[in-house]
């Protein structure tokens, strides 16, 4: 009645959700960052279950390999907020919970009216061809060549801005 894939999905979803809750409830910032890695790993496993190798690898490569590292490095830069002594919740904590539950139920109700709601995953052709199609579309003048080049400029802007903010301007006059 329940296949191995479904069982794996449930276990993976539980681990991901648990890790995500621990990210916001951990008192130590380093622990929160490491829980974030586990949550992102769960998302990568979800992509893998959907049969999307490319996105799964991106998830590990960019989110865990680079962004989580960046967060851990940023935690190492902060001095005083290593361990939060105050309570993690305030008096109105139940209000967002109600809103979130209502939003989730609303989304499920709206989406269940959609015809393909009960559809299980389907294979979208061989994966290697998918990446090739993506590559073709990225450089196709009728496709996504403009976003492709703008992404480059966006990365350049992010890099220049972050270096400008991070370098010490008082001593290094260049």
């Amino acid at each position: 009645m329940i296949t191995g894939l479904q069982a794996f999905f449930l276990v993976n979803a539980l681990i991901t959700l648990f890790a995500a809750v621990k990210v916001v409830s951990s008192r130590k910032l380093v622990h929160a960052a490491l829980w974030l890695v586990l949550a992102l790993m769960g998302v990568a496993a979800t992509f893998a279950m959907l049969g999307s190798r490319f996105f799964s690898v991106i998830q590990v490569f960019v989110y865990i390999g680079a962004i989580a590292t960046l967060i851990i490095v940023a935690v190492m830069l902060t001095r005083n907020s290593m361990e939060d002594v105050g309570p993690q919740v305030n008096r109105g904590w139940w209000l967002p919970l109600v809103v979130v539950v209502l939003l989730f139920v609303g989304l499920v109700v709206v989406l269940s009216g959609w015809g393909d709601f009960g559809l299980s995953t389907r294979t979208v052709g061989a994966e290697g061809e998918n990446v090739m199609e993506l590559g073709k579309a990225l450089v196709d003048p009728n496709g996504f060549v403009l976003p492709f080049e703008i992404a480059s400029a966006l990365l350049l802007g992010a890099m220049v801005a972050a270096i400008y903010l991070a370098t010490d301007r008082k001593e290094g006059k260049r």
Binding site: V62, L77, D140, M159, I163
Partner: protein, 118 residues
């Protein structure tokens, strides 16, 4: 297709099991006779000086950030490289332009001395 992932899953389980087994067996077998000197904090055989949580140099952050940017660049270039044989010269010029724009960022980091360990 999912069979490939099964190998990865087996690999993950084994790679989680081995260190866990090493730590657990060591914890079970080791004799425990703690005294204040044994349980004191040390670093590479030395006693620690000052607080453990120190502020790291911002240089680490710049390195991680430059790494992140070029990581994303690699992701963008990978589909292009897969389709390389099927797209024309125009696509090669586009990719070179993509790399050249980001090279400007590297030059900026270089000029600002962000790559030097001060």
């Amino acid at each position: 297709m999912l069979d490939d992932w099964l190998y990865l899953g087996i690999f993950t389980v084994i790679s989680l099991f081995l260190p866990a087994a090493a730590i657990t067996i060591a914890a079970l077998l080791s004799p425990k006779k703690p005294d204040p000197l044994k349980t004191s904090i040390y670093e590479c055989g030395m006693e620690t000086v000052g607080e453990t949580w120190i502020q790291f140099k911002p240089q680490y952050y710049v390195y991680a950030l430059v790494y992140l940017v070029f990581d994303v660049e690699t992701i963008f270039l990978y589909p292009w490289a897969v389709a390389y044989n099927q797209v024309g010269l125009f696509a090669v010029v586009e990719a070179l332009l993509f790399i050249a724009i980001l090279l400007g960022g590297l030059l900026y980091a270089w000029r600002k001395g962000a790559l030097e360990w001060a």
